[in-house]
Amino acid sequence: MIIDFEHRQSAHCETGVISNLMRHHGLDISEPLALGIGSGLFFAHMPFIKVNGLPVTTYRIMPGDIFKKFSKRTGVEMKREKFSSPEKAMNALDACLEQGLPVGMLTSVFYLPYLPRAFRFHFNAHNIVVYGKEGDDYLVSDPILEKTEVIDRRMLIRARFAKGMPNTNGRMYYPTHVPQDVDINAAIIKGLKYTAKDMGTIPLPIFGGRAIGFLASRVANYDKKYGREEAKKYLGNIVRMQEEIGTGGAGFRFMFGAFLQEASTRLGNPILYKKSLEITKIGDLWRNFAYDCGRMVKDRADGMTYQDLADQLNDIGKKEILFFQSIHKMKL
């Protein structure tokens, strides 16, 4: 049972799965469009929530929410299921494949044997598409890979029933109705406005553009507060969240730039093209920050201090707030 499914490589798993599944159902959505319509870009720093002892910094909205927002704004109807047992989860998957439906699902990268060793942490929100079955092997379109892969039933069960944050519970999803007359332009505007509002106007310090300045104030004291070795771990974690496979590089800022260019063309709005060049510059600043963090972690900082890194972040934060406020105020 193999479904004719076109695999296209993406920068990020969730946006990649949206794009690939939608194209399969006749809705031509690029990865950047999926990100923009689904309002994927975000920022939050939550020092009181820790994973592996390190505070959470994120450059995106919650896993799964990009797809939810995307569906709502395009009128795509999705069936979402979770299961109490692996048997039920695999039977439901097999039934979908029999009907010729490729299925998206939540997995833990720790249990995906085809991924390189270095990337296999307990990250339980990795999205893949299963599009076929041969004997006990399942055919996988993992959006971050160049080519499709094969995984055996036993390992797929492990990946689908991982424990931790979150428990994956065999979660799977597939479109049940994809309208052929979607008003993409209206969806683009909704997605863009939502991101601009959240990034530009949330008054709390931990969410949105302001949270970048908040993170800066924490980073400035990392070495004093935690000592030199611990501080490096905190710093490394910020960069891992920014660049690791699955975030799309520079914390999504470049993919967002690509979205703005597509939006500019579709809406016939040249200002959005200018905005894409602006966010590209901000993305470059994020890259410089990551680069300097890398030097700090490697003890090759040549006199650079944590205050210097904090200053960089402050600058980025101010620029992002202004950037998103300007889009928030824009008539579209």
Binding site: A11, K233, F254, G294
Partner: protein, 132 residues
Amino acid sequence: MKKDEVPQDDENLFEGKFKVVKYAVDEDGKYGTVGSSGWEPENVVLNQAWDEINKKVEETKMKIEAGELSPLAYHMEKNIMDVGMLSQYMDISKRNVSKHLEPSGFKSLDEKTLKQYAEVFDITVQELKKTE
């Protein structure tokens, strides 16, 4: 980021299996995608995370040799788990897992529980009792 600036700092973290996609602009500022074989700062922080894990595994091994911990601790660290996560996989209390991390608690484990632990780590019961 310009297309010709997309980093190709290959440290074999992708094991030569693939390149990742990055969004970057051409000379006119127009976006497209380019494959990347890795980026220095990303490699640094990824290696940093693994060094930390490997360090913990080595420290745990020493504690096991010193009789302070049971071999279970080694497999837990090697699988990047903590007591909380392991208790979820085992569907038993954290307190019980902690007890099994002690040499005496581990020794008194019945065959069924040993097998269950071995399954969580995808190894045999024999392997579970060793630190290799």
